[in-house]
Symmetry: C2
Subunit: 374 residues, 2 copies
């Protein structure tokens, strides 16, 4: 049995639930190994959320529309019921078909009793199946915070995809191109690495105003020599998210930019020095902020976050998090420095907590400038 | 009041609902003008689905996470409640924040009574707000089938974005490039047209086997001279989907391919000749299939579909649809012809039904071959 399934079952048990009922795309991916497609939004051929049921003994049921058949059949669910979503030669009542598929799985696996649910996406139509529901969010988050051996391979591959994008960022950024043109080349590098289309989130920003504003997707702004850029790339490969952020000026960075860049990059270096099991996250967060503050700057966002089948998972590196680092956590660390008169810098790596310290995963080089010959 | 809001209210009234409660991303976009971002899946900072409430008099309430604040403030909702999803300096309980925002809107607008809902996405946590729920799916689909004047502008722009992609398909397709490389250029053309990132679905296929299989996203397959290609591009621009499909051989098409191509393209031409108000959709579907059958081929998919804020809307052009064409419908028409020994062809345009006939919207040229000099 996949260890993720065991952990899901244990999380359900911890809140006295008989079944975990998972309806978020990332949770279904984690517990059942079913990579729900996300890039075009919910399928118009779905009658309900793709749903995984996990019993206390690790039995796993999966309900998905037929358009997700390929992905579902690659999952490790014991019982997969695909319902008719897409048809062309006879009508399909999507809602009824989803409900019937659920009834089928419920009957086959003896599902009932207390359900551990995800309230943000638990559909009203599943309510009648259970005596009672309890919120599974908190224990399920914690069960996922350290990665299994199988997940470590997936995390590394996702980080490598992000790094492939960051290398392309440096060669694709040239005077006169739009952010969208550069981002298209970056995406192609990531997708060629993965061998398939890849959902990507993050930020792609150029110019003083946009980089100082620190967040946003690429637009048709033309990049010119001297512009600061932020390239925050989070690709989803085989259901697992990588993440990364590089910042550079196109051309030779001036003194002000170098000061910003150094503040952020040194804070990241400091994180690599101090991250190890037992470190309290609030303390880590405080140290990174203090380092940037000594240079006269601050960043209006978290210092980082865990990730996996969701691009933001628990724990987040925030001032109010009193949990400690544990071996097997994979954390994004992303200190920044922003100045409206100069622009913004954010430098981010994925960092794995080891038994006695930490190591960056598939790190790419952080450099303050991009020369036009790259 | 936007006509879409009026139509939503009328749909709710038709099933004796006091309020329409909309939780699908496309429905929220239609009724409230709030373009929910979709490309990276549900936000990890959401405590529930972005939700629109529409009263019988057209009053509109909207609940969204703060990360969607920009889009929400551009909507036409009367009452917008943004709840804390993303925070970094204090904790946020996403589920409670969503629930509290809903309570706030419910109180302010006097929401209650009978709710017209979308069962596929109606969350259990909204159940207690209403005396009773009724299924709004069917009347809401029908309310959206003809486009308002404001929507016609958006449909045309989305079709133009697709056409920009199809023109780029012809110049980007060269011997030795991967499907992903070509698709990246196509995406860049579409995104530069739109001035922003664009969600895209559809298919991109090369080679006999993949094109004969008719569906799938691009992979790292290398395209060679003589390969058939299918470029089915459906971009979402400002919340509205365009769609389109071109098919070509890279190089000079042989006789077998020309036969396939002609069967599909002539069926499309036939559609433009016969589509007008009053035509029964099942008859239209039958005529297109009959035309392709006379050439010895068939297509295992619908003949087309409506679209708008969802990429597939009612009515679909299928054998079992007895509705008639009406002025103001925007329909994708996409007859195909497939032969495992040759490959596949699908030729698709967006077609607007006018008062006395129809017209293709932003049509691009359908050509059977791509010469290397393009």
């Amino acid at each position: 049995m996949d260890e993720r399934l065991q952990r899901t079952a244990a999380a359900a048990k911890s809140v006295a639930a008989d079944w975990a009922v998972l309806t978020n795309f990332d949770s279904v991916c984690y517990a059942a190994g079913h990579v729900v497609p996300i890039e075009a939004g919910t399928s118009p051929f779905a009658g309900g959320p793709t749903t995984a049921f996990v019993g206390a003994d690790g039995t796993c049921g999966l309900v998905a529309a037929n358009v997700e058949g390929g992905a579902a059949n690659a999952s490790w669910a014991d019982k997969i019921v695909l319902y008719e979503g897409f048809t062309f030669d006879h009508p399909a009542d999507l809602g009824s078909n989803y409900a019937e598929a659920v009834t089928n799985v419920v009957h086959e696996l003896g599902i009932g009793g207390v359900a551990g649910i995800e309230p943000a996406s638990f559909p009203a139509q599943l309510t009648g199946t259970f005596d009672r529901t309890v919120d599974l969010t908190h224990p399920f988050q914690r069960a996922r915070a350290t990665k299994t051996d199988a997940e470590k391979v997936l995390m590394k591959r996702a980080a490598e995809a992000a790094a492939a994008g960051q290398r392309r960022f440096r060669t694709a950024t040239r005077d006169g191109r739009t952010e969208l043109d550069i981002f298209a080349d970056i995406r192609a590098a990531i997708e060629n690495f993965a061998g398939e289309r890849v959902a990507i989130t993050g930020d792609f920003l150029s110019g003083k105003e946009r980089t100082a504003g620190f967040t946003g997707w690429p637009i048709d702004r033309v990049v010119n020599d001297g512009d600061p850029l932020i390239s925050d790339l989070a690709p989803r490969v085989a259901g697992y998210w990588g993440d990364s952020c590089a910042a550079s000026v196109l051309g030779v960075p001036n003194e002000g930019y170098l000061k910003l860049f150094t503040a952020a990059k040194e804070a990241l270096d400091r994180a690599v020095e101090i991250m190890r099991p037992g470190v309290v996250i609030a303390d880590l967060d405080a140290q990174l902020r203090a380092h940037v503050a000594r240079a006269g700057y601050a960043y209006p966002h978290h210092s980082g976050h865990s990730l996996g089948t969701s691009v933001h998972e628990w724990p987040r590196l925030v001032p109010f998090e009193n949990a400690t680092l544990e071996p097997g956590m994979f954390l994004m660390v992303e200190p920044g420095a922003y100045d409206p008169a100069i622009g913004g810098v954010r430098t981010e790596w994925m960092i794995e907590i080891t038994t006695d310290g930490c190591r960056p995963v598939a790190p790419f080089e952080h450099l303050p400038g991009i020369s036009s010959g790259e």
